[in-house]
Symmetry: C2
Subunit: 360 residues, 2 copies
Amino acid sequence: MSNNNTATMQQSFPMNGGDGPHSYLNNSHLQRQATNASRITIEEAIAKKLDVKCFSSNPFRLADLGCSVGPNTFIAMQHIVEAVERKYLAQGLKSEMPEFQVFFNDHVANDFNTLFASLPTERRYFACGVPGSFHGRLFPESSIHFMFSSHALHWLSKVPEELLDKNSPAWNRGRIHYTSGPEEVSHAYAAQFEHDMEIFLSARAKELVFGGMIVLLIPALPTGIPTSHIPIGIMFDLLGSSLMDMAKEGLISEAEVDSFNLPIYATSLEQMTSLVERNGYLIIERMELMDPTSKHVAVSGKDYTMNFRAGMEGIFGEHFGSGIIDEVFDRLYKKTVEFSHQLESSHKEGTQLFVVLRRK
Amino acid sequence: MSNNNTATMQQSFPMNGGDGPHSYLNNSHLQRQATNASRITIEEAIAKKLDVKCFSSNPFRLADLGCSVGPNTFIAMQHIVEAVERKYLAQGLKSEMPEFQVFFNDHVANDFNTLFASLPTERRYFACGVPGSFHGRLFPESSIHFMFSSHALHWLSKVPEELLDKNSPAWNRGRIHYTSGPEEVSHAYAAQFEHDMEIFLSARAKELVFGGMIVLLIPALPTGIPTSHIPIGIMFDLLGSSLMDMAKEGLISEAEVDSFNLPIYATSLEQMTSLVERNGYLIIERMELMDPTSKHVAVSGKDYTMNFRAGMEGIFGEHFGSGIIDEVFDRLYKKTVEFSHQLESSHKEGTQLFVVLRRK
């Protein structure tokens, strides 16, 4: 067994660590809103579909895949532990209430020091950190009862190779994402996502106990809506044009933009359904599109910009050098102001996929 | 359950993180020698005393308590995994060979980022980091098959309180350790160690599966030898007198030295035996004094100084301020040269206790 063979060939893009003004810790409230929005749905899934009677009693092991540095992961894990405790009570198993062990997983380069330092002191579980890519095995066979992943699976394991081949129709010149690009580019992204998900689902199926549950929250594209009409797609276009402006001004080269692509993909309900069915080890208990934020909450261009920066500063810095980060995100912010009508009128409904799977 | 209630009242003194010239990573070869010296003895304990037939097959879970940042912990875990694999083969259980999961434990403030970044890529186990003090619970009940702790248990959970009370006969004026101090100071340290070990052994007994094994390597005092005659004791005396010199020169105050004590204690074979017996949950399979380093390896004053600095820079910096660290350890090094005859002729035999315990 060599758990890292695949991981070392993959790219790793951790969220910003620490607790500074650009940290993920202080700029992840959009992800938190999305998780909160799904809280009741997760509780329902546990109440209705998780049969704790079929587990050997002790302990109950949970994992958060792509947990980043908190606090979102702590809030989510606490909710899930409480919901499972209620399920034990509801199934008349008070005397068999297990101890809980939570595995916080993210890339090796994730800031686990910050994660550990901010663990809630009054937690009701034993905590572990698991470094490594979820695009591969992370846990021993049949050892996890519940897996959760929120806003992480849209990160591909790597940029599809054909995007960097000048002779390929998928060469992504002048853009940094498939949004508003040619069909070949979208197809290359989709193929990479399908490959990644096949590995992801097979690994999780091995690691889950029989009857174990996976809950996934993933940014998604509603049927019939182009990526360029959803907020994340608009942001990718604005980021790309910010970079092209900088290239025109000679601050970076066009070749640098051409060779840079964000390995982020928004799946659809239909695609995800077919991938789970093709894998065959997991029952789809629920699969539906949700609104990631409440309709009453206005998300500003500043919010989107800070959120993007906390998640993507690392990958931009690696490619373009850390010296241009401020410039890139300053320009991005100005574009969000300039194109605020586009962001405001964008299609936000159903841009999050909620998935509940159970191990056969 | 609140796993951290006790931990938050304790003091935390991680080894130096990172990979710089004063890092534990680059200055822990004395601990590595000590672990290597015990390698064959650990293999013997596993071969003779670990009955893997009594475990449910999958996975086999190991923990290293007080692992620091590597590489020592990786070397030790690799040896133990290989020895357990051989035991499965020897017991005719090739077809039931388990997957391995290793829990690397240390204080929350330990540099887990460095630990994770330096994990061997070709490892034969799934890796987790477990933040928290081993002076308390770390794992779910009956969940670990093998625990290891090397050169960590001599760290007390805190400085005994009476040492800071000017009206107590255990007030430790002008010294930073019980070495060469009055009996009351030694007794206060011993009482704290006994209290800590009671909690340690009870926690481990809960966490181990029946038949599970603990192997401990602890700096120890051979019977009849005063602490001031073993290398670590000489180093404490030299450190204390370095600080008192600095106080006399006005670089720090005497009150600062009086109020500083290193929470480090060297147990004896007799004391440890009686503590394990009093606890009652663990069988002593082996308990003996060993030489921590080969007789043919000369350890220089520089080696000792660098080793002390990597382990103790944090605790000194917290009390005296990080500005004096270089000065303290420069002086310590000079003292090791001045008193090199004392270090060379010190009593080194049997200053490491090797303990094998098995869960009843």
